[in-house]
Structure formats: structure tokens, C-alpha cells
């Protein structure tokens, strides 16, 4: 396993870049706060769901959103790496493509998890009553969401070669995944066909798991949520790794 060091090298690079690229970190923490305020406070003033204040109801959804957006954007940065020749430096090194993917993925997971910890602390400061125990219990779901979404992002990053395709991914992948995950509204009252679609959204299970452990409002048992999310995650890891293996062999 001499490639472990290579994975570490790639992770270390991503981590350093993350710490030094302040703009990326700031923007990804500002937008969830904005959602929490504008949506949570604004809509929350007139709406309560199942007797729970709306701002509190959407909090797990906002956490999921932060994880998802940070992770997928991170993955699509690969397009930028490829525009420059930076990625080639890694691709001609004697480390397998699969492990390049793993190193990159771990880097993205680290970024997103740091982001979410900041968000949780801020939430505490803002008086959203999420207990440390609840946050800790949500950790497995958060990690799975991040791994899953980073892999999706890296997959797109490896498959697409232009920034224009970024818009497409936003419109056809990111927003639908987010909207139909139950992050912003309960899925109970959706029309049947739409409700069944939500079962194909990995984020649905992530949001449900977090809402369960944070607010006691889960629809499905935690184990089921984690199991299904886990399966989605394995599939996306496989997709991402294969996309990396094919990359550059035009």
C-alpha cells in the first residue's frame, strides 16, 4: 500500500488549498445562513410544520444543503484543474486513478465537514436548539451525504470538460435533488408520483436521518435511512472512480 502516501499527498493538497482559499469557505457558509434567515425566519413567521417552528424544521435540510453544495461544487473544481495542467501532474504520477479519486474525495469530505461544524456552532449561537448529542448522532448521515455528493461532483468533473456544463448540472441535478429531498417541506402531501420519485433521491434519506436524530421527526428508522444512503454512496463512489479511470484516455 505504498499508494497510501499518494492519497495522503492529494488530500493534503486539497486541505491546504481549502484553508488558503478563504473565498470558497466564506461563500459556502454565508448561503446556508441566508437560507436559514430568509426562509426560516421569513416563512417561519407564518408557517409551522407538525407543530414545529419552520426554521427548526428546515435546519436539517439546510445542513444537508450545505453538505451537498459544498461537495458537488468541490468535485466540479476538477474541471478547473484540468483547464490548467495541474491535474496532469497527478495523472502522470505512478499512482492509480482510483486512488487519485479517493484522495480528492477525502479532500472534499474534509472541506464539507469543516463547513458543517461551523454551521452547527453558528446555529447554536443563533439559538436553534440542536443538542450536541443530536449533532453527534447525525454525524454518520452527514458523512455519507458528503461522500456521496463529492463522488457525484467528481464524476461530473471528470466527465465534463467545460464550465457551461456546470449550469446543466445545477439545473438538472443539484436543485432537483435538493427540492425533492424533503429539506424544505414534508414529503407527505406530495402527489403520489412525485412522492415515489423522492425515494430515488439519496438526499431524502440523509435529510430524514438528520431530522430523526435532531428533532425526533424521522419518517423512517435511522438504520434504513443509513442503509439506503450507504448503498447510494457506494454506487456513486464506483461511478466517480470509474470516471477517473477513463479520464484522459480519450
Amino acid at each position: 500500500m505504498s499508494e497510501l502516501e499518494g492519497i495522503y499527498a492529494i488530500w493534503l493538497r486539497e486541505f491546504r488549498v481549502y484553508l488558503r482559499e478563504k473565498e470558497r469557505a466564506i461563500s459556502s457558509i454565508v448561503s446556508p445562513l441566508l437560507w436559514l434567515f430568509a426562509f426560516g425566519t421569513g416563512l417561519g413567521a407564518s408557517v409551522a410544520i407538525a407543530g414545529v417552528n419552520y426554521q427548526l424544521f428546515i435546519f436539517p435540510g439546510i445542513v444537508a444543503m450545505t453538505l451537498m453544495f459544498t461537495s458537488i461544487f468541490y468535485g466540479m473544481y476538477v474541471i478547473w484543474d484540468r483547464k490548467l495542467d495541474f491535474l496532469k501532474e497527478v495523472l502522470v504520477a505512478p499512482i492509480s486513478r482510483r486512488n487519485v479519486f479517493i484522495g480528492k474525495m477525502l479532500g472534499g469530505v474534509t472541506d464539507a465537514m469543516i463547513q458543517v461544524v461551523v454551521l452547527l456552532i453558528l446555529a447554536g449561537v443563533l439559538g436553534i436548539p440542536v443538542t450536541p448529542y443530536g449533532a453527534l448522532m447525525a454525524l454518520p448521515a452527514m458523512l455519507l451525504i458528503t461522500v456521496c455528493m463529492t463522488s457525484i461532483g467528481l464524476f461530473f468533473g471528470a466527465v465534463f470538460s467545460s464550465f457551461e456544463s456546470f449550469q446543466l448540472v445545477m439545473q438538472f441535478v443539484l436543485w432537483p435533488l435538493f427540492f425533492f429531498s424533503g429539506a424544505l417541506f414534508p414529503l407527505d402531501n406530495l402527489p403520489g408520483w412525485l412522492a415515489s420519485l423522492t425515494y430515488f433521491d439519496p438526499l431524502t434519506y440523509g435529510v430524514d436521518a438528520m431530522r430523526g436524530v435532531m428533532l425526533g421527526m424521522g419518517k423512517m428508522p435511522l438504520e434504513i435511512d443509513l442503509l439506503v444512503l450507504g448503498i447510494f454512496t457506494l454506487v456513486t463512489i464506483w461511478m466517480g472512480a470509474s470516471a477517473f479511470e477513463r479520464m484522459g484516455k480519450i
Partner: protein, 331 residues
């Protein structure tokens, strides 16, 4: 110069790479010996970078084979990668890491042991004279410094072959000369085989022990710079004269070729400097005369039938579309 009895470091056999219908590399057969500084010279789109990408395992050939240090690039790419160092055409060092961090990352990717790694980082930094800037972010480096760092990085793991894809593209003339100095020194001190691509005639002439001129995916001429220039048949004497009459050159064996363009006459002459007196005596009164030693430009013209325009100095940097002009252009 050409190392006679050395082992073949790179061989290609009928190497071909097609993108759709276009053959970027067309049935290429090439041998590069150990210790050579080999230059692939040609205009943009000639297939130089594609050739390099095939050899460094970033692309798979459509057909044909290639080996680096005896290892097949298709069958065993991982092993090939251990044997090569690459400096890419576009910048590839990380802006937000320091010079030293970039090198350390490289060392880790190549599984260099800790002790050796630290020593080697200092060594290559010394070699490209970046030791005093090693802890600064690459962001703060000049274009030339980045290039030097990339050179250093390419050397880190003692590769058998160092590939340099347009090493001085987009650099100002002064920095370019600086980089040339380093490359020449590296080739000598590190004793490795160097393969570089360039579209600067001057660069190829100065650095390379052997040159392959590439055009449309094929090598159209191959040899030492000296030999290639000799093949053109001599120097060029340009005379301006009204009503030039070819017959005046009759019996002058030293004149190999005559071409008239308006009032300008291009004469290909053996040893023009020594023979100028005789030549002018035969031609008679002229308005002006210019002697141009044979250059790789003439070689290119001879083999492709087209003139070759070098990129305007630093005008649009590395990203600019560089075009080749078929029409005749005066230097």
C-alpha cells in the same frame, strides 16, 4: 552530440493517434537514445504534444506501439510513469502552495522515502536557484520562476527521461534564455535523456543534440541541427538588383539554387561568406546584398514547402492560438 552506442531510451513503431478522421500522429517511427537531448520541432498542430502525451501515457495510441526505457506504454503505463518526469505546456504548479510544498507533494506521489525526499527537495531547489523563495506561495512567483519550479519538480524523482512540452512558451526573451541555461545544465549534470517540443527554431538549435522536424503528424526530417542545416545546401544570399539575368551565373558551381521574387534574388550558395566576392563579380552592380546563414527555418521550408512563423514574442502568452502561415513572410 549523438551518443553512438547507447541503449534506445524511447522507441515508437508505427505509432498513430487519430482524433476522428484527423491523424494527429501518423505512423511515427522514432528512436531516441539514452542521454540525448532530442527536440521535436514543428508548428502548432504538427502533433508534437500528442506524441508526448502518448509517450507519457496520458493518451492511448489508436495503433502502433511505443516504449520508454524498454517498457511498453500501453501494456504497462504505471511502470512507464515511474521512469519519466514531465514539464507540461500549461502551468501545473499549485498557486496556493509554496514551492517547497509543491515539490514535497510530488515526492509523496512518487513514494520517495522521507530522508531522500528532504535532501532532494533542497538539491533541486538549489539547482534552479529558488532556495531563498521556497517557502513563498507560488502565486507570488514570476512566470520564469514557475517554469524553473516545474523543471525542478520534473527532476525530483530522478527520472530516466524528462519530457518538456514547449518549455519556454509565453516567456519573454530574457527569461527564455535563462530557462535555456537551466535546461542545458540539467541535461549535463543530471545526465538524463531529455525530449522537448518547441516551435522556436532557435531553441531547438541551441539545446538539442538531435532534432526531428514534425509536420502533420509525421517526422519530415531528422538529424543533428548541423546536418539538417547542411542538407538545405548552403547559405542564402539575397541580392536586390533591377533586371537580374540568370545567365550571368552560368558556370558558377557554388550557386545551388536561384529564386527570383520581384527585384529580390534568393541564391543558395555554398560557404557564402568566402564566396561572396566571386558571386558579386559575376552578378555585377547590385542595390543591396544580404547573407543569411542556413537556419532551421530554411530546413523547415525545404521539407514542408511552407514558411514557418514563430509566435510573436510573448504577445498573447501560452493560451494564444498560434497559427502557421503558409504564405511567404519576410524575416
Amino acid at each position: 552530440m549523438l551518443a553512438g552506442n547507447n541503449a534506445q531510451m524511447i522507441t515508437t513503431s508505427h505509432l498513430t493517434k487519430r482524433f476522428d478522421k484527423l491523424a494527429a500522429v501518423d505512423n511515427l517511427n522514432l528512436n531516441i537514445e539514452e542521454g540525448e537531448v532530442f527536440g521535436l520541432l514543428g508548428p502548432n498542430g504538427a502533433g508534437k504534444t500528442t506524441t508526448i502525451n502518448l509517450l507519457i501515457t496520458l493518451l492511448k495510441p489508436t495503433s502502433g506501439t511505443a516504449t520508454v526505457n524498454g517498457i511498453d506504454v500501453v501494456k504497462n503505463p504505471a511502470q512507464v510513469r515511474k521512469n519519466i518526469g514531465v514539464v507540461f505546456q500549461e502551468p501545473s504548479v499549485d498557486d496556493l502552495l509554496s514551492g517547497k510544498e509543491n515539490l514535497e507533494m510530488h515526492a509523496m506521489l512518487y513514494s520517495m522515502p522521507g530522508e531522500l525526499r528532504r535532501k532532494r527537495v533542497e538539491e533541486v531547489l538549489e539547482l534552479v536557484e529558488l532556495t531563498d523563495r521556497k517557502d513563498d506561495w507560488v502565486k507570488t512567483y514570476s512566470g520564469g520562476m514557475r517554469r524553473r519550479l516545474e523543471l525542478a519538480r520534473g527532476l525530483m524523482h530522478h527520472p530516466k527521461v524528462l519530457f518538456l512540452d514547449e518549455p519556454t512558451l509565453g516567456l519573454d526573451p530574457q527569461t527564455r534564455q535563462h530557462i535555456w541555461k537551466y535546461i542545458a545544465r540539467l541535461a549535463k549534470e543530471e545526465n538524463m535523456t531529455v525530449v522537448l517540443t518547441t516551435h522556436y527554431m532557435e531553441e531547438a538549435d541551441l539545446l538539442c543534440s538531435r532534432i526531428g522536424i514534425m509536420d502533420r503528424g509525421k517526422i519530415v526530417a531528422l538529424g543533428t541541427p548541423k546536418k539538417l542545416k547542411h542538407e538545405v545546401g548552403g547559405d542564402v544570399v539575397i541580392i536586390r538588383q533591377d533586371g537580374f539575368d540568370r545567365s550571368c551565373l552560368k558556370g558558377l558551381k557554388l550557386v545551388k539554387k536561384v529564386k527570383v521574387e520581384g527585384d529580390e534574388v534568393f541564391l543558395t550558395v555554398e560557404h557564402a561568406h568566402e564566396n561572396l566576392q566571386r558571386l558579386l563579380a559575376a552578378v555585377g552592380k547590385v542595390k543591396s546584398v544580404e547573407v543569411r546563414e542556413a537556419s532551421l527555418n530554411d530546413v523547415f521550408l525545404k521539407y514542408t514547402g511552407r514558411k514557418y512563423r514563430e509566435e510573436e514574442e510573448g504577445a498573447e502568452g501560452g493560451w494564444a492560438e498560434r497559427t502557421m502561415h503558409a504564405e511567404s513572410q519576410r524575416d
